[in-house]
């Protein structure tokens, strides 16, 4: 049974945590009853070969010696397996420290009769396989939380929605597993001391739990790509990063290497501890860099530059439909202007839109002679609009001017504010509409004439 033959194997994915031993045993027993004999196991993938339906009893044991890379372990494990086989248990295969046995004798003595010891082995195994991952995820989330600007949380619901989804979702993938394990361990710790059996989670609850985890992981992926201008592009970037990270971590931490028994990439004869330290640090660095880089890119909207639409035009060009207004449409192009160039940076989420428009005007020598930038923010949520307004107003008092009385009517808006120190030129204006905001900066020589204001206001009101 140790070496499976070359006949075609049936693979089944069965989601379980490393401490769901009883659930796995029941799964294997049911499969045997259905005519599939267990052959080998690798993480969540089980391999079976077809057989006559048979009633078997399975036992998933954890080899007590965690130094699985020690050369002498092979002998120890063989001796251990011999003990079990002498009691009627047949060894099938192992996945790391997890050993799979079966017996046809319903009354065979269980391999582990000391529940306290079994719980201790489960605890060691879980901390060994999952503990590092939990610590790593906690480390990643803490780093990201520290880097995030929580004062602008409401703003981030539009322009950093993907990042927020990631912050919300990926702890949901690993934190429940930590909590679930803690409940399992502490619930059983007292019981086994009194001689009771270990209570494992049922197959049904295990299935539901992992189903929810997978659903959350899918939501994470969707959230990362939702409402960004070129979502397919972002999705591809995220998936590419994830695949690269998984491949690199697998290469580093692959413990099936024959040469060292641990790592393909550190296949020099380091001792066990050095190997583990190298692999752990390397895995942490790779994953941290991958995720940090991805979310940093999304968070800083650098990625959006790839989504920008550039409209290079001559000075007499007709305004593009995607651009609400421009210097050209406002008759504000200087005489010496030769070409102008407008970049559009769209950003959207379920909470609204944040579209930026940057226009540069060049003379015939290619020098920038005028600059014109504006953002249009649209949201049906008052708290988001209010947050942007508060953010704008949080400037030096001497720089802030409330132009509502003088300009609100012209703009046909609820309020108009100026931050003289923000942006460039004469500062930045914030025009507040019902569920829209216009944030505009222009070069010094741009005049806010009544005509231009009305044109901009009309364009913003019609913009959706």
């Amino acid at each position: 049974m140790n070496n499976y033959n070359k006949e075609k194997l049936v693979k089944k994915i069965f989601w379980h945590s490393s401490y769901d031993l009883k659930t796995v045993e029941t799964f294997l027993e049911n499969m045997a009853t259905d005519g599939y004999m267990f052959v080998s196991h690798d993480h969540q993938v089980f391999r079976f070969k077809r057989c006559e339906p048979v009633k078997l009893k399975f036992f998933v044991d954890i080899f007590h010696n965690s130094r699985k890379l020690d050369d002498s372990l092979g002998t120890m494990k063989d001796e251990y397996v011999t003990y079990c086989e002498e009691c009627g248990w047949h060894f099938i295969s192992n996945d790391g420290n997890m050993l799979f046995f079966y017996t046809i004798d319903d009354n065979a003595t269980p391999i582990q009769t000391d529940n306290e010891l079994r719980l201790k082995l489960i605890n060691n195994q879980t901390l060994h396989t999952d503990g590092i991952g939990w610590i790593m995820w906690l480390f990643l989330i803490l780093m990201q939380l520290c880097a995030f600007d929580w004062h602008n949380l409401a703003n981030a619901l539009i322009d950093e929605f993907s990042v927020l989804c990631a912050y919300a979702c990926y702890p949901l993938i690993f934190v429940p597993d930590m909590v679930r394990y803690c409940i399992f361990y502490f619930r059983n710790r007292g019981k086994v001391k009194e001689g009771a059996d270990i209570t494992f989670y049922s197959a049904g609850s295990t299935f539901r739990f992992h189903f929810v985890r997978i659903a959350v992981a899918i939501c994470l992926l969707i959230g990362l790509t939702f409402a960004i201008a070129d979502s397919i592009y972002v999705a591809c970037v995220v998936v590419a990063f994830a695949v690269v990270a998984i491949i690199i971590v697998s290469l580093i931490c692959n413990h099936k290497s024959k040469k060292s028994g641990f790592s393909r990439m550190t296949a020099i004869a380091f001792n066990l501890n050095a190997n583990m330290i190298i692999a752990t640090i390397a895995a942490l660095l790779v994953i941290f860099l991958q995720f940090f880089e991805v979310f940093n890119i999304i968070g800083s909207r650098t990625l959006f530059n790839y989504n920008a639409t550039n409209h290079s035009t001559t000075i007499n060009s007709v305004q593009n439909d995607t651009i609400p207004f421009s210097l050209g449409s406002l008759n504000a192009l200087p005489e010496e202007a030769d070409t102008n160039d407008t970049s559009v940076y769209p950003c959207a989420s379920p909470f609204g839109r944040y579209d930026s428009f940057d226009e540069y005007v060049y003379d015939d020598s290619g020098n920038i002679i005028r600059r014109f930038e504006y953002d249009i923010i649209i949201s049906n949520y008052d708290f988001i609009i209010d947050s942007y307004i508060e953010d704008f107003k949080s400037c030096e008092p001497e720089d802030f001017v409330d132009l509502t009385e003088s300009e609100a009517k012209l703009w046909q808006a609820n309020a108009v504010y100026l931050d003289a120190a923000k942006g460039f030129g004469k500062g930045t204006r914030l025009v507040v509409y019902e569920n829209k905001l216009l944030v505009i900066s222009a070069s010094y020589d741009f005049e806010y004439t009544d005509e231009r204001i009305k044109a901009m206001s009309k364009a913003v009101k019609n913009y959706s």
């Binding site: 007590h64 251990y80 003990y83 002498e86 009691c87 003595t109 269980p110 009769t113 000391d114 010891l117």
Partner: protein
């Protein structure tokens, strides 16, 4: 009060040490334990393996022979002392109870 390791022995430990009063190996230990306890105490191979490893490390038993994958053990003098202490402790408990029960 925290119990020191081997200050008191659990039932399986006690019976395994009893079985190892004479040289014994592997599955024979398990059978002997079951026999000595009249079927009441069963020790699984995994539990036994871990227990023997612990006893070896603490010099409670010693390996006498090794034939391929089969290894035989016997209790040491120190192990015998521990076993005797446990036996006396259990006797004392029975005696204490006898007066009242």
């Amino acid at each position: 009060m925290a119990r020191e390791t081997f200050q008191t022995l659990s039932e399986p430990m006690y019976y395994v040490l009893l079985a190892l009063c004479n040289e014994c190996c592997g599955v024979d230990i398990m059978k002997l334990v079951e026999h000595l306890s009249h079927g009441r105490v069963k020790v699984g191979p995994g539990t036994l393996y871990a227990m023997l490893d612990k006893f070896l490390k603490n010099n409670i038993i010693t390996e006498t022979r090794s034939e391929g994958r089969k290894r035989s053990y016997i209790i040491t003098n120190y192990g015998r002392e521990l076993l005797l202490k446990e036996y006396e402790r259990l006797q004392q408990m029975v005696a204490d109870g006898a007066g009242l029960l």
